[in-house]
């Protein structure tokens, strides 16, 4: 397994730096897939197939989970190939047909896979033009390409189509030189906003998700679950379930499952399984976790340092010491994890809702004792991911059960299982000491984050004496350290770590601005040299119609900015705080983002709107409650994600630089939401909320404290 993974990884890196194999062929796609499974490795990197019907198949290991890359990747390929968008077929996340990919996360698709795909498409176009030159008997320089037709510039009637060029040909070419990509001025398809390619099948219900796949003879599995993390099975009685007709009971290596070809019968069978579990040892709970995170952190890793903290302390006229906190947050996609596995002598095929088809394939292979090339993972549409579908427990369960039963098995988690096995965004603590000199300039920044990683902790503000430390380094890389700190597994959640870090940084900036008697935008600009960050902040406040005022102004307007995934974001929002109940409502948000080259402006706006709305959840209501390894919130009845009444009006403003490389789009706009709302609540009431989520109860408490002080 490792050998193959390593080879694939090296090949991928080769692609990213410009060595691209473009396969142009005729014939059925599945035949090529078959060949590739056993063929020499360069074929693994085939990104494009130009059919003799003129249709272009784009192959990518990336998956579509709502973020819109099915459309934006198709735009990139169509642009560089010079074909119409309608000629593109996307094949995504199929490990037999697509080039290796590490997974869809980190807002990396457009900025990392995008250039590789564009280069492959540009090279394919060059090959086709060469073929056309031979076919038409004129030099390349005298040819024009438009919408998959190559014609002689001076005699447009002399033409040949890509379909005609591809017919009967099977060319393979490894590209040595970096392909020449189109410039923004030449774009016909990129930089525009066609309708989402997945829109039609999603509004008609034809779009397939993992739980929608059916195979003849398939079984539905229900798996016995512990009541709490850390529980062990003491007693088990499956006799009543076994007595039911058609029920298969599997008990192997800790996996206890009942299966039936009728889903309802599988449910009934599970209800007849009786089990006893061990008590869970004493563990932290929702409130005691913060002390545990700090005391349990053995080492702090310094990730940035400037000047000397002692010098900062002695220059500071005022010191601000704060502790910020955030609880565990669930991914809570509306589609729970699901998989269907079929295992035969020839190997395993698993349809899975996963953000990481290739790593999932490798883990399934390892679990079943197969070679990775004998496992095929097919990824249908995902009903939301947000980082949570990087873990693939359901796919491994389905594969194990299918191997044991010799029949196809579906494992589809119910909502309670989805909450229980969610690898939450970790709870975290930030301890922050900052100082202002007598002139209102920041001279000290002493920052430590516990429980989560460093992403978002390094800011752009100009501070002469600074130290930034993190208890987990790098973000989630140290699983063992993470595991010893947190009472259950945690994992990447949309911009992992950054939501906590930006909340702390931008709350502190706001607090110091108010103390300095300067409005929060001017205060930030005084400490910002980065031109792109300044431009984005100024764009956001101008679009909002913000007027300077020292906080708390009583208006309820908050500002926050950050850099994440290579992009620059600034959010300005307006809230109202109902003093009697402590309820905060966010009515309007303007979010400006500079993500470099924008492939699909409306797609980018969708991500800003979606991230902002999702961010309201971790900011106001979302916190997983737990005790003794038990997850207490296992339903949408008690775990509140944003609803229509809560969703603000979001105005997305793109600050585009079409001549700069594309940067991440899906994650950056969520990072600013917590601080923006906290700062707006402060602006409205004078109360500073240092803990997320800012539940009505906590707001009421903070209001009482604030009024006691005055």
């Amino acid at each position: 397994m490792n050998a193959l993974t390593k080879v694939s990884r090296r090949q991928f890196i080769g692609i990213a730096s410009g060595g691209i194999a473009v396969l142009i062929g005729s014939g059925a796609l599945c035949a090529v897939g078959q060949e590739r499974r056993f063929a020499y490795p360069t074929d693994v990197n085939a990104y494009l197939l130009i059919g003799d019907d003129g249709r272009v198949t784009v192959l990518t290991g990336k998956i579509e989970m709502g973020q819109g890359v099915m459309t934006s990747l198709a735009q990139m390929a169509a642009e560089e190939l010079d074909v119409d968008l309608a000629a593109i077929n996307m094949v995504m996340g199929d490990t037999d047909r697509c080039p290796w990919d590490m997974g869809t996360f980190g807002s990396l698709t457009t900025r990392m896979f995008g250039p590789a795909l564009r280069a492959a498409a540009a090279e394919a176009r060059a090959i086709l033009v060469n073929l056309a030159a031979v076919r038409l008997g004129v030099p390349k320089a005298r040819l024009t390409v438009r919408s998959a037709v190559v014609s002689v510039t001076s005699e447009p009637a002399r033409r040949v189509t890509y379909a005609e060029l591809a017919r009967g040909k099977r060319l393979r070419k490894v590209v040595d030189a970096r392909a020449v990509l189109r410039s923004a001025a030449q774009f016909r398809i990129m930089g525009h906003s066609p309708q989402r390619l997945d829109g039609r099948e999603k509004v008609t219900g034809e779009a397939r998700y993992a739980a929608d796949i059916r195979l003849p003879g398939m079984l539905y599995a229900r798996i016995l679950r512990p009541p709490a993390h850390g529980s062990t099975l003491l007693r088990l009685d499956t006799s009543a379930a076994e007595a039911m007709p058609g029920v298969i009971v599997i008990r192997k290596d800790g996996l206890v499952a009942v299966l039936h070809e009728d889903e309802r019968a599988a449910d009934l069978a599970r209800s007849k399984v009786s089990a006893g579990w061990s008590r869970v040892p004493q563990q932290p709970d929702t409130e005691s976790i913060f002390g545990h995170l700090v005391s349990g952190t053995k080492t702090l890793h310094q990730v940035a340092a400037r000047g000397a903290l002692s010098a900062g302390r002695s220059r500071a006229a005022r010191i601000f010491q704060m502790e910020y906190r955030k609880g565990y947050v669930a991914h809570a996609p509306i589609e729970p994890h699901a998989a269907l596995a079929q295992v035969t002598d020839a190997g395993a095929t698993v349809w899975a809702s996963t953000q990481t088809p290739f790593p999932t394939r490798d883990r399934i292979a390892k679990t079943l004792g197969l070679q990775p090339q004998h496992v095929r993972v097919i990824t249908p549409f995902l009903g939301g991911g947000f980082g949570g579908k990087s873990a693939d427990g359901q796919a491994l369960e389905a594969a194990r059960l299918a191997a044991i039963c010799g029949r196809p098995v579906q494992v589809a988690w119910d909502r309670s299982e989805e909450f229980f096995y969610d690898r939450f965004d970790p709870a975290a603590v930030v301890k922050l000491v900052s100082g202002l000199d007598s002139g209102g300039r920041i001279v000290l920044w002493d920052y430590s984050v516990y429980g989560t990683g460093e992403r978002g902790a390094i800011h752009l503000y100009d501070v002469p004496n600074l130290a930034i430390r993190t208890g987990i380094a790098p973000s989630y890389g140290d699983a063992a350290q993470s595991a010893s700190l947190h009472p259950f597994e945690v994992g990447p959640w949309r911009a992992p770590g950054a939501n906590m870090n930006v909340f702390a940084i931008e709350s502190q900036m706001d607090l110091m601005a108010a103390a300095a008697g300067v409005d929060p935008v001017t205060f930030r600009l005084r400490h910002l040299k980065d031109a792109r960050m300044r431009q984005v902040l100024q764009t956001a406040v101008a679009s909002f119609g913000w007027r300077p005022a020292v906080g708390p102004s009583g208006r309820g307007i908050g500002v926050a900015c950050s850099t994440d995934a290579g992009s620059y974001v600034a959010s300005v929002g307006e809230v109202s705080v109902e003093r009697s109940s402590g309820r905060v409502s966010v009515s309007r948000v303007v979010c400006a983002e500079d993500l470099g080259l924008v492939v699909n402006p409306d797609g980018a706006r969708m991500q800003i709107e979606g991230a902002t709305t999702m961010g309201i959840g971790y900011t106001l209501t979302e916190e997983v409650k737990f005790r003794g390894g038990e997850i207490l919130d296992r339903s949408f009845a008690s775990y509140h994600i944003p609803r229509f009444s809560v969703a603000p009006k979001v105005e997305a403003v793109l600050v585009s630089h079409q001549n700069l490389p594309a940067q991440g789009g899906g994650e950056p706009p969520i990072t600013t939401v917590g601080a923006m709302v906290a700062n707006a609540v402060f602006d409205a009431t004078g109360a500073r909320l240092p803990r997320l989520p800012m539940t009505a109860e906590r707001v009421t408490e903070a209001l009482a404290k604030a009024s006691a002080r005055t």
Binding site: G66, Q195, K202, A207, M606, F644
Partner: protein, 157 residues
């Protein structure tokens, strides 16, 4: 325990031997192979499983199939005819009122029930009608826009 139950789905008569306590969602996705209706929570909270029952929006994940006997069920598969999209489907696609698409059929069915009862709802009425349909991707404002478009009223906030 199975009994014969007859009802109509998307204009078609069906008659099946079913455990009457089985959920309508299970029957739609299982024996009827209509997988456009989604499981999201199994508790009637998220709305991904919404279908029309005699024109009303109901949560199929908590509805025993016995209650459907003799009635008319409409699922998302019954919306487009001969390749022509229903105005709500058209509006959702045009507005980009979806991302992952998993809540979409429930959103469209709930909106259809609203529009059948109130031809030109205000934005607030649309918001209220959809309040108990969950969307995790944050497509809310585009969904409101799409329903307003489909109602032909161009409702404003």
């Amino acid at each position: 325990m199975a009994q014969k139950l007859a009802f109509r789905v998307n204009g078609r008569s069906v008659s099946l031997d079913l455990d009457p306590e089985r959920t309508l969602l299970g029957v739609l996705r299982g024996p009827l192979a209509l997988t456009g209706t989604k499981y999201g929570c199994g508790e009637g909270i998220c709305g991904a499983c919404t279908v029309l029952l005699d024109g009303r929006a109901v949560r199929s994940c908590v509805m025993p199939v016995a209650e459907v006997a003799g009635k008319e069920v409409v699922t998302i598969e019954g919306f487009s005819s001969e390749g022509r999209l229903h105005p709500l489907q058209q509006a959702f696609a045009e507005r980009g009122a979806l991302q992952c698409g998993y809540c979409t059929s429930g959103m469209i069915l709930t909106s259809e029930a609203l529009l059948r009862a109130t031809a030109h709802p205000s934005r607030q009425e649309i918001r209220q009608a959809l309040e108990h349909n969950l969307c995790r991707c944050g497509a809310h404002q585009r969904i409101l826009d799409a329903v307003a478009d489909a109602s032909g009223a161009g409702a404003q906030s």
